[in-house]
């Protein structure tokens, strides 16, 4: 029924099967929307946050999707600015994933502020002494850039492409995409960096606080670098999941291996810098404030010492070495393990920098703040996942996302 909308020369499942899939994921989406409306209509008392514990699951999800969406800006930077031409075969998907991640981040923020109708206050009453203002500016602008990068793909739909104006507009946007990609890289550099910088200047939170060069440039670059390293890993992971679901090969191995190699080197350099930062903080900064390393870790499994090992060694050095060494990188199994570990690693880093920072007791009368999100928080955190699955499904079905799909999966009849 919708065959006129499907790209030429590719096979898709029947409309009924597709509609059933969308209906199942749509039910999860509606559950999230219901929880979101509860938060908007009844207020933030629907959450388990309080004055003592103001950063919660949403902020972790927000920082994690921003880091994982970093694949869009970094792949765009490599493709359009550095000139890695092979990446043209995965850039569309990286942009789509980035678009989903950043729109999700903005949606989470719209729920988190409690009064979404006042969201524009951050632009009109800008607090020019806050790094979060810069984050809000860059995040909003970068979302506009991602929309501009995604639009030509929509215009390449078989029916839309027949409209001469849209065909020409798409062609012209492709022509100057390097300008938009460079703007996106500029904006991403600053908002990723400032998110890290926020943690570094929390002088009331010694678990995050840094001094001297360990604020600038360390906290800034660690966040930007980790997003640039792990964002492409997330793009590869979603590509591989899409290949598994569709039972098709969609991107050639040389493209995946190139992106994995660059990610590996980025991850290795990042994790060395992260280790230096952690060592200096644990050996010099924290003791100078009267803390010992293990004061920051509890026997609770959520905040135990194992989290440090997991973040730096298990999900840092190990995936970095697996991606840097050619034999492991080109082996699909070890490459997949490395990619999954890297994605977990960056998410764990954001978890630590948001939730553990708030949980560590800082006053003599404080205890560990153990927090469990309400179902509304969980539902609104799952909401962007359902939204992302639906947008990927629609884009895969109706847009030419994978330029190598036809060559890799020739249709026989």
């Amino acid at each position: 029924m919708d065959s006129a909308l499907i790209p030429k020369g590719v096979e898709r499942c029947s409309l009924g099967k597709f509609a059933l899939f969308i209906a199942v994921v749509g039910a999860v989406l509606l559950w999230g929307v219901f929880a979101m409306l509860l938060c908007w209509l009844k207020g933030l008392n629907q959450t388990n946050m309080n004055d003592y514990y103001g950063f919660a699951l949403w902020i972790w999800a927000d920082l994690a999707v921003i880091a994982l969406g970093g694949g869009a800006f970094f792949t765009g930077f490599l493709r359009y600015i550095i000139g890695k031409d092979e990446l043209k075969n995965i850039i569309n998907y990286a942009v789509l994933i980035g678009f989903i991640c950043y729109s999700s981040a903005l949606l989470i923020l719209a729920i988190d502020i409690g009064q979404p109708l006042r969201g524009w206050f951050i632009f009109w009453h800008a607090n020019v002494h806050s790094m979060l203002t810069e984050v809000a500016f860059c995040l909003s602008c970068y979302f506009v850039v991602l929309t501009i990068e995604y639009l030509p793909l929509i215009f390449e739909n078989r029916q839309l492409d027949k409209v001469p104006f849209l065909h020409n507009l798409s062609h012209n946007m492709h022509e100057i995409m390097a300008v938009f990609a460079a703007t996106g890289a500029f904006l991403s550099f600053f908002h990723q960096g400032s998110l890290g910088g926020v943690a570094g200047v929390l002088f009331g939170r010694p678990f995050a606080y840094r001094e001297g060069i360990f604020i600038w440039p360390f906290t800034f670059f660690l966040f930007t670098w980790s997003a640039a390293a792990c964002g492409p890993c997330f793009t590869i992971l979603i590509t591989k999941i899409t290949e598994k679901v569709t039972k098709k090969k969609l991107v050639k191995d040389n493209v995946i291996n190139l992106l994995a190699k660059i990610s590996g080197w980025m991850l290795l350099t990042y994790i060395v810098a992260k280790t230096i930062d952690t060592w200096y903080w644990a050996a010099i900064t924290a003791p100078s404030k009267g803390f010992w390393l293990m004061d920051f870790y509890s026997s609770n499994p959520l905040y135990g010492g194992g989290i440090l090992f997991a973040e730096i060694v298990l999900c840092g050095f190990i995936p970095a070495f697996l991606l840097v060494i050619k034999d492991f990188r080109e082996n699909p199994n070890t490459r997949m393990i490395a990619i999954i570990l890297a994605v977990i690693g960056v998410s764990l880093n954001r978890w630590v920098m948001v939730l553990q920072v708030m949980a560590v007791p800082v006053m003599p009368f404080d205890t560990w703040a153990l927090y469990f999100p309400s179902w509304q928080e969980i539902a609104t955190t799952i909401l962007p996942v359902a939204y992302g699955v639906i947008l990927i499904a629609l884009s895969y079905r109706y847009l030419p996302i994978f330029p190598q799909e036809r060559e890799l999966n020739p249709v026989t009849d």
Binding site: A126, V128, C141, P164, N168, L169, N172, M173, F180, F190
Partner: protein, 53 residues
């Protein structure tokens, strides 16, 4: 004062850097899209892209 395009504007370094960065990015994005749209209108009026029909 409400210039340049912000309530409570002050001529200090923080405002100039923050708002300057925002308007710099928005100007590039705006000019880029304006170029694409105007060129698409001209191209369409010259009959380009109509081979798609």
């Amino acid at each position: 004062m409400m210039f340049p395009f912000i309530f409570e504007w002050m001529w200090d370094m923080s405002h100039i850097v923050f708002m300057g960065g925002l308007w710099y990015a928005l100007t590039i994005i705006g000019l880029g899209m304006t170029y694409c749209i105007i060129k698409a209108i001209i191209d369409t009026s010259q009959g380009k892209g109509s081979h798609q029909h």
